[in-house]
Symmetry: C2
């Protein structure tokens, strides 16, 4: 029989829908030309700085792609890049003060979104959602 019966949409499909909702929330506002991809990288730079190769690994992207984003964010003044004095092959990426302010602004915006979601479904259920998501997304992170 050439038909399909599914009782509910798949989780990947639902996540796609939620990511569209996030994008819509950000799309209304002015973010100085930065996009989600930039935020993802910018918010992953630790306070003490990080090498490009290690940053790429954390983000599951190639060092080539990572290097391109770092260069763009450095041009925009949100990151700066130094040569590591101990190993001059390594470039140490750090946030500028503007980069830190931007991260804080993104954190606040996403935090507000999540508070809204928590209000929609109830804080307890939202907390469970969030914890389960973290566990299945990164199953190796035992706490």
């Amino acid at each position: 029989m050439n038909s399909v019966k599914r009782d509910h949409p798949h989780v990947p499909e639902l996540m796609g829908g939620l990511l569209l909702r996030v994008r819509a929330a950000f799309g209304d506002e002015d973010w100085d030309g930065l996009r989600q991809s930039h935020f993802r990288l910018l918010t992953s730079v630790p306070d003490q700085g990080i090498a490009i190769t290690e940053l790429a690994e954390r983000l599951s992207m190639t060092k080539q792609g990572c290097g391109q984003f770092v260069a763009a964010l450095a041009d925009s003044g949100y990151l700066h890049v130094d040569i590591d004095t101990a190993d001059r092959r390594v470039r140490v990426v750090r946030r500028t003060a503007a980069g830190t302010r931007m991260v804080q602004r993104v954190d606040a915006r996403v935090g507000a979104l999540e508070e809204q979601w928590a209000a929609e479904v109830g804080p307890r259920r939202y907390a469970t959602f969030r914890r389960v998501l973290a566990e299945i997304a990164y199953p190796d992170d035992r706490e």
Copy 2:
């Protein structure tokens, strides 16, 4: 102070991680050259067929992009396209038998993944996760 303190990763970040896990699960196997984007479209074609413009709206994509994917999936033999006899501007997209088999195979693979996740975090917690995700992804769908 040029530092950032966050108590936990953001939900969009976690969803990105989980989608990478899904991609990795599919990446190991042979799917006849089809990718997630093809599955998303193929699984959204209802049994009775659908016009390209309406399919595009459902998927929140442009009719141009939708038309390209439909053409590719028709070339591969998973969809076929008829001219609507009532309105000859309209193309009606339907799954072929091979298309239906592929949807069933994808459904089974995603279902197995979700069962694995449910086993990892417990079926009750997973059910809550899934229900909350559906509610915040599509808040207008009152049941």
